[in-house]
Subunit: 165 residues, 2 copies
DNA sequence: CGCGCGGTGGTATAATATAACAATCGTCAC
DNA sequence: GTGACGATTGTTATATTATACCACCGCGCG
């Protein structure tokens, strides 16, 4: 079972990030094959770029990096790839940042809760069933049925809060 | 004690919305006077426009409406007013919609959870202490300290889900 | 072959937001 | 009053993010 590293905690500087990238790409291949989706070179490359680190990336950053590859990429190219990756559950879009981050739990359908460090910009994807249940229950009490959720928490990660004296 | 209507449930078509607007404006005046902030005509007018209904409004929509007033408004004008109103806790920005909505609980500091109907676009601001506590606890377990939260739930409000057979 | 469909390339433009500087207004000390 | 100063607004320009639209390509299929 290939799967990206759990990443349900902030990654250490020592962690083998090449493995993060490799796991994400391998998992994406598997998923796409299983679902009959086409994991084309552009889509693969965009996913790889998104996984360059654990920080969210803007679409135009990706565009620049694609251009540096040699291919003259235009906005629709990267947005199409992103749309595909988000739909396939391989990438999440962070609405508060207009940026994209690799999904840490791509092996099952979910909509996580994101912890975003305002200092180092790293992101961790939590998945708290408790929070999900509370929200669902309280929304239902108002007669509201949730279809999508966007939960983004900004603050300081452990490393950055200990730095701040 | 003036305060906008609770709006912790979806508003009925029959409710006296003029009262919603009036309460929001009166409360804003009070708040600004208390905090020594200047509730200028532009800021007042923008808040009034935001409260035209219970749906979020985009900055450029507001801009159009301001222009229709006669004043030749430019983007910075409306963005500055919005910045002020958000900072004063009178308005919230919805990241998933790039839009703004009047705060339903402006009488105390908070960061609510928004229920957004994808059909009628109405928004309700929940304030669930339970959700807040769960998130805080689970984030702290990862060493993360939350400074801001953005929680936006999209789905169907009671009225729109009963319409859909 | 002829057709349809998903993917890509490319141009243009829409929609959202901010930078930078000038002009004006309010307030307060003098 | 009036000059000084900070806060607010006016104005122009530009940055940033995202989509509409059409042409072309490659491939499977009747
Ligand atoms: Zn890593
Ligand atoms: Zn950090
Ligand atoms: Zn109302
Ligand atoms: Zn509705």
């Amino acid at each position: 079972m290939t799967s990206p590293r759990p990443a349900d905690t902030f990654p250490t500087p020592e962690h083998d990030h090449a493995e993060c990238i490799d796991a994400a790409l391998t998992h994406a291949e598997d998923t796409c094959r299983r679902l009959g989706l086409r994991f084309t070179p552009i889509r693969r490359r965009v996913l790889e770029l998104i996984w360059q680190n654990h920080e969210p990336v803007g679409a135009y950053d990706l565009l620049d990096q694609l251009s540096r590859d040699g291919r003259r990429a235009m906005p629709p190219t990267v947005y199409r790839a992103l749309e595909f990756l988000v739909a396939a559950g391989l990438v999440h879009r962070l609405a508060t940042l207009n940026a994209f981050v690799g999904c840490a739990h791509p092996d099952h359908a979910h909509q996580g809760q994101f912890l975003i460090c305002r200092n180092c910009r790293r992101v961790v994807e939590m998945e708290s069933p408790k929070v999900g249940r509370s929200l669902k229950r309280e929304a239902e009490a108002l007669g509201f049925s949730i279809e999508e959720q966007s939960i983004e928490l900004t603050g300081l990660c452990p490393d950055c809060s200990s730095e701040a004296h």
